[in-house]
Symmetry: C2
């Protein structure tokens, strides 16, 4: 493992010698290579699918695992879109002249070698490899066991393009030991790996955060809330609530709990029940909710659960302060929204809650690199440092200071 | 410990309710309180000094430990200067409107609770507490055992000011268990502590980086180099080399090794010997150096040693590529400088080396928050993420996105 990572580290230094246009040309070659290998990729994917059905993987996982011509074409297009992004490297982020006349430039540079741990969807392999290559980083990828053959061939196709361009194939490497022990070793190798990005189940993320000596930007759970204030436009609130829950319940930026101001509960809860019944949403409610509408009982544990399914908790709270208390207790610092026309109430909500993204009068579903206009997304960070919330390709860069003098001493 | 940190975390939330001018007024009160307690502080410091001399602490440590009226006055002035800094919280770092008309603001916010581990100098206690308070962060301080009484009374004086202002004293807390075991516990408490800043010996920093589940910004060793290129102005080079080594050898931004281009070695090395002999610098050299001037032999280990003393390694290298290879192998990514009039050589040096700060024609001693114009310095980060190089008070902030909609759904 150490030998392998040492090679990945050395390989990453080679990238500094490539210009942006060279990197983009190679990325476009990678997209073409994926297209040219469509049939081989589908064959390898069939092995994973067969194993998956033998091992009785859940239908939703099988659906995410499956590759067909259309999906491989989207993977190729995604790489071309990444090639078209503005170069994130070499940007002068700030610049100034000091009192003694030193000219200082703060310039964006690659991070080095990035370890990425993810699950099921094989397109993450090509997306992530392309994002890292675009930003001049080496990457060590650890995909899910269920997608082993698919990830293997995708990485192989990309590596062939590297070799054809006289670049070391270790720039895009699959972790050789893809077991939990392999991951345990990887996250201790801070002399070779500069950043670990774990995306996946809570247990994996907890394990990585607790044990990594490499800095971690995690992509963890989204326990998101929507609060309907007494000063809300009720029709907007209902529309937004439905969108935030139903449009894609498996996304981390979907809500799990809807909070309703007690002063409007009697009026609004029946409307809520009506719109969500229409969406076949399973509703659970607190005691006060159940005095007004007939829904299942929500337990304390329910308020702490990321359903990732079409299930919604309802809770009556005492105004914005009640909403804030609930969210401080149960929120996961991901995305929180308030529906209100009152500017003071909105600002109180947005300033009191420590989450990556706070909304007024909009759906939490917008917490997304694409929706933010970042062009491509590494993921949604639930870490507090380095990158927070939607993480664009800038999240794969750090900086150095370049200082220009003319003989200054201290 | 957990109960204590839970209180620190809750206390940190109270800070959000204070305006910038309230924080500044309280900081100025803290400065006054230090002045008013000068005699008590000197008395407590005398206990540390007595223990230090019983335990035969090194003279340099004793010198750093000592507090007198003048030093306490500087501590008070430092707090007043921090009060005078621009508020780092609530700054709109970026802002834009998305395609669907959402107005997004990226706003600076406090990190939360910051654990700071440091040694000897008691003024770090008040400096750091003030920087954290200014940036609305709670702090948990763990100073050196040798400064226990001094740090204790300084923290106590600051806490009295908090209490007088109806603020929880846990906003500025000393770690109750200041042993290695206490530190080991602290760095695993990621539910309460958001950032650990270790400043101190290599062993401590290694221990913290390897074991912390809390993100770490480390302030580690500075293995810095100066390279004299064949196209250098030799008189500038000599002046800068002396400054970078001699002005304050114990600082992390001082150089340990001087690299000389082989094509000018015969001419320059005798001059180097002359200027450094005048400064009583102990010189060690590589084989090629010793063929030209008479100095001690430098071992491989010497090239890897941060002397923190008036000792300098000399090495002859083959041009800028030789200098880069040496620095890639031995550098600690802190500060590296090239002396040259050639712009292509300078850019090659600055672009090829991954260090926080790269210089052309200036002393490495400028890697410093004050010299960069940051006003106050948390330290000099040798981490790659979050904060790199001189770390101003902005290093104690993170951000959130505030998104303003008018009913948008996805």
């Amino acid at each position: 493992m150490e030998h392998f990572l040492d090679k990945a580290k050395s390989a990453s230094r080679v990238l500094a010698t490539l210009s942006g246009s060279e990197r983009n040309r190679i990325l476009r070659e990678m997209a073409e290579a994926l297209r040219a290998n469509t049939m081989n990729i589908i064959e390898a994917n069939a092995l994973d699918m067969r194993k998956g059905s033998e091992e009785k993987l859940a239908a939703s996982l099988m659906e995410r695992l499956m590759l067909d011509e259309k999906r491989i074409e989207s993977m190729a297009v995604a790489i071309e879109e990444i090639a078209a992004l503005k170069d994130p490297i070499g940007k002068v982020l700030e610049g100034w002249v000091t009192e003694v006349g030193l000219k200082i430039e703060k310039v964006s540079i690659p991070i080095g070698v990035i370890g990425i741990i993810y699950e099921s969807r094989p397109n993450v392999t090509s997306d992530t490899a392309a994002l890292c290559f675009k930003s001049s980083n080496g990457c060590v990828l650890k995909g899910g066991k269920e997608a082993e053959a698919s990830n293997g061939i995708i990485a192989d196709v990309l590596q062939q393009v590297l070799l054809r361009n006289n670049l070391p194939k270790e720039l895009i490497a699959l972790l050789p030991d893809a077991t939990r022990e392999g991951v345990a070793k990887l996250i201790k190798m801070d002399q070779y790996v500069d950043l670990i990005v774990p995306r996946g189940g809570e247990a994996l993320i907890r394990f990585v955060s607790q044990n990594s000596s490499v800095p971690v930007v995690k992509h963890d759970k989204g326990q998101c809330h929507l609060y309907i204030d007494k000063d809300a436009k009720i029709q907007d609130a209902l529309r937004i609530a439905v969108n935030a829950k139903v449009q894609r319940p498996s996304a981390c930026n979907s809500i799990e709990t809807l909070l309703v101001d007690s002063t409007i509960a009697l009026e609004v809860l029946p409307l809520i029940k009506e719109v969500f019944d229409r969406e076949n949403t399973r509703l659970k409610g607190c005691e006060q909710t159940r005095e007004i509408i007939s829904v299942e009982k929500a337990s304390e544990e329910d308020f702490d659960t990321e359903y990732l399914a079409n299930i919604l908790n309802l809770r009556v709270v005492d105004g914005v302060d009640g909403a804030i208390s609930h969210i401080v207790r149960f929120g996961s610092s991901h995305s929180e929204s308030i529906i209100t026309e009152n500017i003071t109430t909105a600002e109180k909500f947005m300033n009191s809650i420590d989450a990556s993204t706070l909304y007024v009068n909009a759906s939490t579903r917008f917490t997304d690199g694409g929706m933010f206009g970042f062009g491509a997304e590494v993921g949604i960070s639930t870490s507090k440092l380095h990158a927070r919330g939607p993480m664009g390709i800038e999240g794969l860069t750090t900086y150095k200071y370049k200082v220009y003098g003319k003989g200054q001493i201290r």
